[in-house]
Amino acid sequence: MWADDSETKVLYVQTHGVAEPGRSATPFFLAASAAAMEFEVMIYFTMYGPTLLRKDVVDKIGPKGDQGQPLRYFIEQATDLGVRLLVCQPSLDLNDLRLEDLIDGVEMIGGAAFNNLAVSADAVISF
């Protein structure tokens, strides 16, 4: 799934969701920085992570709750630079979500694809 073997590749893993807004934005910051460094970057949302991508959430909360910039701002900062967002079905089930409940552009993968991305990345950074 990595597009270019010759690029430096970083995979972020976000396990925290809407219950902990203070943990929501940093993976997007770091992913945007990495993409600006011309790295190939993906963020995998598992456990409670997919709740951060809900259409009905991204405009309502940000890292400081309902104050300051909402999540959409940080998400788009990253995706505008080419960062790809990934989820898996069991994590959607855990949060009673369907892919249609999430913002556009989120890609569905599974455990084998995740592990393959991880072992072929130059760094895997988990939150």
Partner: protein, 82 residues
């Protein structure tokens, strides 16, 4: 280090008051609008901008011409190399 060429920059990116990662992100976007060999001046107040721009230029292959820490802000000159 201080004397940048008076007309050294082809483009100024003012990130005064903006925090990480915006100076890096805006620099990465802006430098793509320059031709190879042209110079970008980044003005930033984020206290982490110096190590950030050293890392960014070394990774992207652009040339860090100088970092001038003035009273108001960091002024960073970068030449687009590729």
């Amino acid at each position: 280090m201080s004397e940048f060429p008076a007309a050294g920059a082809d483009l100024v990116v003012d990130c005064t008051g903006l925090a990480c990662p915006l100076p890096v992100v805006k620099t990465a976007q802006a430098i793509k609008t320059l031709a190879q060999g042209q110079v970008l001046e980044l003005i930033a107040t984020d206290p982490g901008v110096e190590p950030d721009m050293r890392a960014w230029t070394s990774r992207t292959g652009n040339d860090l011409l100088g970092i001038d820490k003035r009273a108001d802000a960091f002024h960073i000159l970068i030449r687009r190399m590729k």
